[in-house]
Amino acid sequence: MTLYYQVLALFLLVNLGAGLWRVLRGPTAADRMLAAQLFGTTAVAILVLLAQAERLAALRDIALVFALLAAVTAVSFVRRTWSEVKPDAD
């Protein structure tokens, strides 16, 4: 089973790499931010898989911290950077 979890973790990492294209491409700021949001979720999945594969309970705590703070960056983007007032410059 360890090998199987490692295959899935590797697959998710490659998947994350593919999502980078949307960060580079845009076109709007929101598209870039959403891709980063997906990376966060993917990292959580990779961490819980690795925690099971390597029998490291601490990795689950890292996933928990990521899950707790998953919204902070995107919220600061919506509330500060991507305001109603300024026109979208992208």
Binding site: A30, D31, L34, T41, V78
Partner: protein, 98 residues
């Protein structure tokens, strides 16, 4: 043995949703449809992976922690999707129509 098979099926399905989420993010035409694809990875993708791993957990504490992680990611994903889409509508971002 049966639990191993179930774990494999569930987590494979979860990874398929991650793939679908990424493909949607890359291929869909506007912010709103991309949001739709993204939330599938949060809800079903991580949910199925977590369900598969929970079957293998040594204790209920681990099951609880995994469940909490999934609920938190869903909460964050849903809130962010709502905030981003409302702001995108306010800003008048183009909505894709067939």
């Amino acid at each position: 043995m049966l639990t191993d098979v179930l774990t494999v099926v569930l987590s494979l399905a979860g990874c398929a949703f991650f793939l679908a989420g990424t493909l949607g993010l890359l291929r869909f035409p506007d912010v709103f449809t991309r949001l739709h694809a993204l939330t599938k990875a949060d809800n079903l993708g991580l949910g199925l992976v977590v369900a598969g791993l929970a079957l293998q957990a040594d204790s209920w504490a681990i099951v609880g922690k995994l469940l909490l992680i999934w609920l938190l990611v869903m909460l964050a994903g849903a809130s962010v999707a709502n905030l981003v889409s409302r702001r995108a509508l306010d800003k008048g971002l183009p909505v894709w129509k067939r």
